[in-house]
Chain length 460, copies 2
């Protein structure tokens, strides 16, 4: 590595797919390692996923367990489980052993129980026990996100002992990147933490209890949101995690919490688009299709409910067939306005700026926007309708319906996520379909009932 | 702080809004500080934002500049700028001075140029110069995300000098939490980095060039995606940033990159829902309304294009009015299927698993799901239609149209984000409206043209 090596040198923008393909055909393990190490790990994963499942298995089998473990760490969880499960048990155990304990626990939870047992049986018993303990925690809690082992000392050890441990050749220092050493009592409860400054400036013979300060700890069941707040409020890179009895069971790092928050935001994004579960296009067709259908089938029922409103007004429609042209417009435009309100509420929820009890305040704010936008959009669509179909009263019906329905849509869009959250439901997965159904029904009803009322004018 | 203080103790779940309100009425600055310090900073921000803009201004004015700066750091950028701008200049400068240099640059970019100049004139000239330099970088690059000052030494300094600097009373150690000291040459170019282990294990008289290793650097214009890959591939907590001439200009930390990636994901999420720009409900009504309308107005045009298909078939509709009941269902269901495909593609894009050139592979994967789901949904809706309207041929028309349109929708939904990305457009903002328009048009056309063809059977 030259002193001025910069990012561009590290990441050549070439596609290694073809070279990997030929190395794979020749089963050239060394070449595969070199090629996949030459690009970023996310690019390496992209290349690997472009192969068929069987080719992927051979490739993972050929490359070093260390590289395989980094690919698996980079892959979404479900895929990570699949990649390990499809290896023969010896190789699977070897790769598994290279993973961090929090990732191990996540992967184990994805595996078929028999495969999971086989892997746990093949690693060191104490490591297996640690993984088993970790799998008992909810993934999005301090327990689920922590590394199972902490960098810990006793109060009567000296600064010199910590320094020697840091200097020893094992992986500790790398693993505890930026973490502080914790001091535990005889019952393994954290009683102190030593700052880097303390370690660097004290004499080596000083006992740790002379320079330690009281640690802040989190309980293993602390939620991701609580952890987010905690790291937001404090500059630390990690917190010691304690179980119900106050024993130190691990360390949760800022990096792990940040990654979990990003994954949560991305999962929410997907669920809002109607993808429940962690779909990747490399997954088996049957799973992808079935999961998407589950969500779509529920939507069919909601659509039938909305469509029944139109069905009730077939006579009106038959008399003024032009209305059929505008029904989907009114429902689509209202749906868009409502989705904007959903988006803002979801954002404010994720920033912690609103809570379910703020529903009334949110509603008032949305109504103001809804009234203005409803009037503007109503006038626009009314004029379009008038010019297109040559009847000002039809324009009035459609414009008025869109104006009113915009207010309804933003009200529902702004408030429904809060109400769902308030009753413990997932606002990301249910807000959209609920919104669409209600605004469709309201939009169809407004257009068709107004048209029925004004029928004599529309038939002029 | 007691040794066993845990998360629950730190975060009492009480609402301080009323207490803050009365402290604000009494202009009790000390009480306001105590109250807002007693909760997490995100909760404090939530409480502050519930007040009117004028009340907020008084509150920010009363509390300490340090607390105000933490609130402003926590707030979304646009709001951060507003909060500072509305303070009188002396207070504004005092708060500004407490912010990190990267946040200062972001805030300055939000301010009215006159206000920005006033603030920069009131802080130390060298700090102002650093902020001006930072504002020249794109916010989502290493230059825009870095802290402008690095923890740097010369190669002929000793380990002892670094340790003394770490032990000195300034804020360095806190600010460089987990960062490594960099060694620069006489032209301020980074030539080395010293590991913590090196510092801890070397004698204090050892010169830094004996224990330093060559540093990896990033250039100031490195993109967020490149930084994400880099931190993904390396366990470091920060990288030194160099300008075009190789000079050390700052340090970009993992924390800053993680925060920017999360903000990018959240912004994308919002844009997919039709919210362009950083809307919060505390913003002025006119801005919120105008921004939402800009996006909706573009949608009206697309809707008119789609509706014109219906208009072209008014005769068919008039003959079989029941079709009007199913038109919105077909378009909504297809839209949902398409959105699922958009969601998966956006996710795979953000994970780096697909690129624009993978469009064909993605399309084939989507077509398989589309065919299966199209057949299932088509049969379902066909049966519903047959039973409801008593005509099997109407069921056939609607079912067939939905089946075909589902394949079209997932194809477009899967591929359009890649194509938009390929031509440098934002897939989040444009995929949805494009998808909806095309699937609406195709759906309306399929239903109405099939119905026209089968008219004799439908009129039985």
């Amino acid at each position: 590595m030259t002193p001025t090596q910069s990012l561009e040198d590290v990441q050549p923008d070439i596609d290694i797919t073809e070279s990997v393909e030929s190395a794979l055909k020749e089963a050239n393990a060394a070449e595969l390692n070199v090629l996949l190490e030459s690009v970023t790990i996310s690019e390496a994963l992209r290349v690997v996923l472009a192969f068929t499942p069987d080719e992927r298995d051979s490739l993972i089998y050929l490359i070093s367990a260390e590289l395989a473990s980094r690919l698996i760490d980079e892959a979404p969880l479900e895929l990570a489980g699949e990649l390990i499960e499809r290896q023969e048990s010896e190789k699977a155990a070897e790769i598994f052993d290279e993973l961090d304990s929090d990732v191990q626990a996540d992967v184990i939870a994805e595996l078929d129980p028999n495969d999971a047992e086989a892997i746990l049986a093949s690693i060191k018993p104490e490591d297996a026990a640690a993984v088993r303990r970790l799998t008992e925690y909810d993934p999005d809690t301090a327990g689920g996100l922590m590394l199972a082992d902490a960098f810990k000392f006793r109060a009567d050890q000296t600064v010199g002992a910590v320094l020697r441990s840091l200097a020893s050749d094992d992986e500790d220092l790398e693993r505890y990147n930026g973490q502080h050493p914790y001091i535990v009592d005889e019952a393994n409860r954290p009683v102190g933490v030593v700052s880097l400054r303390g370690l660097l400036t004290a004499k080596r013979s000083v006992k740790l209890d002379e320079i330690m300060v009281a640690p802040m700890t989190v309980t293993a069941n602390a939620s991701l949101t609580a952890l987010q707040d905690l790291f937001n409020d404090h500059d630390f890179l990690g917190f010691p995690v304690v179980d119900g009895s106050g024993e130190l069971v691990g360390v949760v790092s800022r990096t792990a919490v940040d990654a979990a928050i990003l994954a949560r935001a991305e999962g929410e994004n997907l669920r809002m688009q109607g993808i429940v579960g962690d779909e990747l296009r490399t997954m088996p067709l049957a799973i992808r299709s079935r999961r998407r259908l589950a969500w779509l089938s529920a939507n069919i029922v909601l659509n039938i409910i909305a469509a029944s409103v139109i069905s009730a007004y077939e006579e009106t429609l038959a008399a003024v067939i032009a209305i059929a042209v505008f029904l989907p417009m009114v429902s689509d435009m209202s749906g868009c306005s409502g989705n904007q309100a959903v988006g803002v509420t979801m954002r404010e929820l994720s920033l912690g700026l609103v809570r379910p009890k703020d529903a009334m305040r949110v509603w008032l704010k949305e109504v103001s926007v809804g009234v203005i936008n409803g009037i503007v959009l109503g006038i626009l669509i009314g004029i379009v309708c008038w010019i297109w179909k040559g009847n000002p009263y039809l324009g009035l019906v459609i414009g008025l319906a869109l104006a009113v329905n915009t207010v309804i849509a933003v009200s529902i869009g702004g408030v429904v996520p809060l109400l769902l959250k308030g009753v413990g439901q997932d606002p990301a997965v249910a807000s959209g379909p609920l919104l669409t159904t209600i605004t469709d029904m309201a939009g169809f009803f407004l257009v068709l009932s107004l048209a029925t009322l004004m029928m004599p004018l529309l038939l002029q």
